[in-house]
């Protein structure tokens, strides 16, 4: 039975992610983890999160999880969600410049100031899958997922982009490289499409 560690660093909807994984994959053992041993002994790791990247990085540092997460992201199926996706990049514009984990090259700008463009980007928007991936199995192409965010990721390499969404700009709503997959939307709040993606993650061997 595969084990899934949901990293708890005190920011956000851990319970929702945990419950959604349980619902999506009843054959997996899901646990909430906040120390190195619990994270690195799991077969797969989820980094969720909502809020500000500066606080997120400060908490990860305080819990001594920075290197633990980098290691987990090197060698097993790894899923970043929302802030847990943004944290994987090199740096964010948030709070006048905040360094991230540097797992995926690129940065995290804020949505531009445009007339009529409300920020945060909040609600259901379409996710266009730019190439096939095991995590998209059974997920409708251009289907709707739930978003809440004011910043978005801009990977340095276009080959890391797994899906795109339009909101004032066309941004990477999912990224994928090797064993790492990360999404800007909240699969745990995206009803059936989200649960399908989570179920795919729990069965994923870490390749495309």
């Amino acid at each position: 039975m595969t084990t899934v560690a949901v990293i708890d660093y005190g920011m956000g909807n851990i319970r929702s992610v945990y419950k959604a994984l349980e619902q999506a994959a009843s054959d997996a053992r899901v646990r909430v983890a906040s120390n190195a041993a619990d994270i690195l002994s799991a077969d797969r790791v989820v980094l969720p999160g909502v809020g500000a990247l500066r606080d997120c990085m400060a908490e990860l540092r305080r819990l001594e999880l920075i290197d633990v997460i980098r290691e987990a992201a090197r060698n097993r199926p790894f899923l970043g969600i929302c802030l847990g996706m943004q944290a994987l990049l090199d740096s964010s514009e948030e709070n006048g410049g905040t360094p991230g984990l540097g797992v995926i090259a690129g940065d995290v700008p804020r949505f531009p100031d445009m007339p009529g463009l409300k920020v945060p980007h909040m609600g259901w928007n379409r996710v266009y899958q730019v190439h096939s991936h095991a995590l998209w199995n059974g997920v409708p192409q251009n289907g709707y997922f739930y978003f809440v965010h004011s910043y978005y990721v801009q990977p340095a390499s276009v080959s890391d982009v797994a899906a795109q969404t339009d909101y004032g700009v066309t941004f990477a709503s999912a990224i994928a490289r090797d064993n790492v997959f990360a999404v800007q939307f909240h699969p745990e709040k995206s009803q059936r499409a989200g649960l399908t993606l989570l179920a795919n993650f729990v069965r994923w061997d870490g390749s495309k």
Partner: protein, 264 residues
């Protein structure tokens, strides 16, 4: 501007001591007072979000709401907001830890506007909704319409201008405005479109229109003429007059972008 962002349809449930009140009548519901069962039914119909308003009078009974939120979050995988009695940072933490995605702050924002700022700094703007209960008052000297915030179920005037207040709340870090017209609430005459539009064009955060829905065309008006980002309704859904799915089809047929529940 390229945006596929869908307009949201949000059923609202009033909860008293852990039970849904104002009677929900669906055919597939066995217990019309059970918040979890009703939430599940709306989820199945394709609701985009849910709002639970805790109208419990006494603070002892309010602890019940926490277990309601936990039970809903364990079974319903769409976002939901909890409002009513949110007065402290601890109240917010309790609801978010229990599984709510957002909290709606109403009276506490009026007695202490800085609470909104502290809440947004602590938990992020994305989960802080400011609820505004508005009534139209005498026009300004140059004949423009004007609305004031009312408290105590719309009975007590505060003298606060609604549009200015919405801007101030956005500036303090609110992520969304839940805007209820107390003039229209319960009338089934439709939203106060002038109010919705005045607030929506004054702030750069999403606005949820509320108060007055009696027919599907009111939802469409709120999103088009009112310019709302989301529409909240209670009775048209609760009494089985319309399902959320019917509302979605109605809006889609009028060219309004709504989520297609079965994918593409």
């Amino acid at each position: 501007m390229a945006s596929g962002l869908a307009k949201r349809i949000i059923p609202c449930l009033d909860v008293d001591k852990g039970r849904v009140v104002k009677g929900v009548r669906f055919e597939q519901i066995r217990d019309a007072g059970d918040p979890v069962e009703i939430a599940r039914a709306y989820d199945r119909q394709g609701a985009d979000e849910l709002v639970f308003l805790d109208i419990t009078a006494s603070s002892e009974d309010r602890a019940t709401m926490t277990s309601v939120v936990e039970a809903v979050a364990a079974e319903v995988f769409i976002p939901f907001t909890v409002g009513g009695g949110i007065r402290t940072i601890d109240d917010i933490r309790r609801m978010l830890n229990a599984g709510a995605d957002k909290v709606a702050i109403n009276t506490a924002a009026i007695t202490d506007p800085d609470f909104v700022c502290r809440a947004a700094e602590r938990f992020g703007s994305q989960c802080i909704v400011v609820a505004i209960d508005a009534r139209r008052v005498a026009d300004t000297a140059d004949g423009a319409p004007r609305w004031e915030i009312f408290t105590h179920g719309g009975r007590r005037a505060t003298g606060i201008d609604v549009v200015e207040w919405a801007q101030r709340m956005a500036g303090l870090g609110a992520g969304e405005i839940l805007l209820t017209s107390m003039d229209r609430d319960g009338t089934r005459d439709g939203y106060d479109l002038a109010l919705t539009s005045a607030v929506g064009s004054a702030v750069r955060i999403p606005v949820i229109a509320s108060g007055g829905v009696g027919a599907l065309e009111h939802l469409a008006e709120g999103l088009t003429c009112g310019g709302a980002d989301a529409v909240l309704a209670a009775s048209i859904f609760h009494y089985g007059q319309h399902t959320v799915g019917e509302a979605r089809s109605y809006l889609a047929a009028r060219g309004i972008t709504v989520r297609s529940v079965d994918g593409g």
